[in-house]
Amino acid sequence: MAEITLKSLAHTYLSDPRSPEDYAIREMDHVWHQGGAYALLGPSGCGKSTLLNIISGLLEPSSGEVLFDGEVVNALPPEARNIAQVFQFPVIYDTMTVYDNLAFPLRNVKTPEARVHERVMEVAEVLELTAQLKRKAKNLTADEKQKVSMGRGLVREDVSAILFDEPLTVIDPQLKWKLRRKLKEIHQRFEITMVYVTHDQLEASTFADKIAVMYEGQVVQFGTPRELFERPNHTFVGYFIGSPGMNFLEVVTQDGRVMAGDTELAVGQGVHDAVAQARSTNVKLGIRPEFIEVHAEAVEDGMQAHVDHAQDLGTYSIVYLTLGGIPLKARIEEDQPTPTGKAWLRFPDERIGLYIDEFRVEIDHE
């Protein structure tokens, strides 16, 4: 069993890093608890695969420590850590049968053949590979191959964490959900810590209990899918999570009014004060498209916006608006009237997030 702790971990591929930009992983602390299902979510190039390889031991971090159950394992090679890793492209041993593939990690440590058989059969059963055991691994389909490479991790009795590096990239869309459900099932059955790297928020939120969102080598937020959606810690999380992403309005206070571009925003006192007290020039208000109230008629405290166009997506539609020169998106359920030409917007105070220098600042709502 393993609790994986990252302590002031940082990594760079350069020999003499000068600025934070030179780091693939910027200094961070993080804990993955035993038995959790975690996702590491971020756009390509944000350092998530690097982080994964550091955990598995394929890379040695340039500074900081990786601890398994409180023990520093920096110097331990992958084979000495109790982890397994599933790669983006299925790695299987072409010339072997599925059975031999699954047995491979056990035979490498000279497990008695009877025990090997027992384990292979058990894992094949779980993965629904029993029928394919005698086949050459080379001729399997991509999803079967990926199951085999996962199976090689599960078959080992000492594995306490499995790391997944975008394992569904090459899988057909209709098989993706099946495999994802299988993963979930395995997680519940074996109580193994699983860390799942992906750039797909849907994959992350269906698989994981908690998601770490990475951006430019840092974990900018670690929380449940709901937390990420409702209270993004960083403008990036706002953009990246949700479809479409969060709206951000750059604001300033002018003569005691909160201005976004050339329009005064109708916001509560709490938000007003918080904006007024900000010391930075980079102040943004964020609101999810789902939480913007859109009215076709003028309403009290409604801000008048221009409707550019609307996109009907079946059960809901996305309305593209301009407010004070700033483009916004709002989501309207199908039973609501879709405005044309002009619309009046209201931002519910409790749904507004204040972002100073891109990070969320809590607002004290009276």
């Binding site: 069993m1 023990e71 331990l76 000495a80 009795e157 000492d158």
Partner: protein, 297 residues
């Protein structure tokens, strides 16, 4: 699987052992690293030693060569090189060799490109048999064709010309080029061709503007092989020429004089034949690592 998981003290001990192991292994892997370098160095020495000896000889006077064994030229001289580079009978050998090699490369690649494209993209009557027959030409020993070639080229009046040798080398170079190029071309998705035709490209324009750039490293590797096999071949080249187009390889046999072999000149001439090869490898060195598998991994 809870029964099979190690208890905590066990796990700790195990991990400590593993860490220990790792330390020992890293020491071992460092020594392995050195063994690896040692073996590589040994092989490089094996490759270079005979060449060094040739170089050594080429800078010695014949009296020094025959006087006794010296590990490096004690009486350093460039007389042999001077002789080769000033006497037309010598240096024309190089000119001739390079001329027919280049001609052969040009002919082979220009007919092999469309042919390889046809084999990689189309099915047609007899395609498989034709391809197999082509490959059998790779297996034909030049010695078999020696006499017929001599007679054929003599009859058509090509004997002792560069074209004769260039054409003769087509025997193995064209099949080789078709075969290598076919491998690379099959690696290019057919959708590329289709998209280009939909975009209104004519076939020749598509071929030159789009397709050829896409397999440029394949072409590089092919040219390397064409150069290699044409440059190193002696039997056909020397049989089909007498004086006007004589390759350097057969000029070298003239070092056998009445007074024995002119070792110095032989060594210097040999050394000079190695140079074009080195130049060619230098240019394609970055493609070799990838392309030598001929698109067939």
């Amino acid at each position: 699987m809870s029964d099979s998981l190690p208890t905590t003290p066990d796990a700790v001990r195990q991990r400590a052992a593993a860490a220990d192991n790792r330390r020992r292994r890293s020491a071992r892997s460092a020594s392995r690293q050195w063994r690896r370098r040692g073996l590589m160095a040994a092989y490089i020495v094996f490759v270079l030693l005979p060449i060094y000896w040739l170089l050594n000889m080429s800078f010695q006077s014949n009296t020094e060569i025959l006087g006794g064994l010296t590990l490096w030229p004690e009486d350093f001289t460039t007389e042999h090189y001077a002789k080769i580079l000033t006497e037309p009978s010598w240096y024309m050998g190089y000119v001739n060799s390079i001329t027919y090699v280049l001609m052969n490369m040009l002919i082979s690649i220009s007919v092999a490109l469309p042919a390889a494209y046809a084999f990689s993209r189309y099915q047609f009557i007899g395609d498989k048999h034709l391809f197999f027959w082509l490959l059998t030409n790779l297996m034909a020993p030049p010695a078999v064709f020696l006499l017929p070639y001599f007679q054929l080229y003599y009859t058509v009046g090509l004997f002792d010309t560069h074209v004769a040798v260039a054409l003769a080398h087509c025997l193995f170079n064209i099949p080789l080029a078709v075969w290598i190029l076919e491998g690379f071309m099959s690696g290019v998705p057919k959708e590329i061709d289709e998209t280009a035709f939909i975009d209104g490209y004519s076939f020749p324009r598509f071929f030159v503007k789009i397709f050829i750039p896409m397999i440029s490293s394949g072409i590089g590797v092919t040219l390397f092989f064409l150069f290699m096999f044409s440059w190193v071949e002696l039997l056909l080249a020397s049989t089909l020429t007498s004086t006007n187009a004589q390759p350097i390889a057969s000029v070298m046999t003239q070092t056998k004089g009445a007074s024995g072999i002119d070792w110095g000149a032989l060594a210097a001439a040999g050394t000079l034949t190695i140079l074009p090869g080195i130049v060619v490898v230098y240019f394609v060195r970055n493609h070799i690592a990838k392309g030598f598998a001929l698109g067939r991994t």
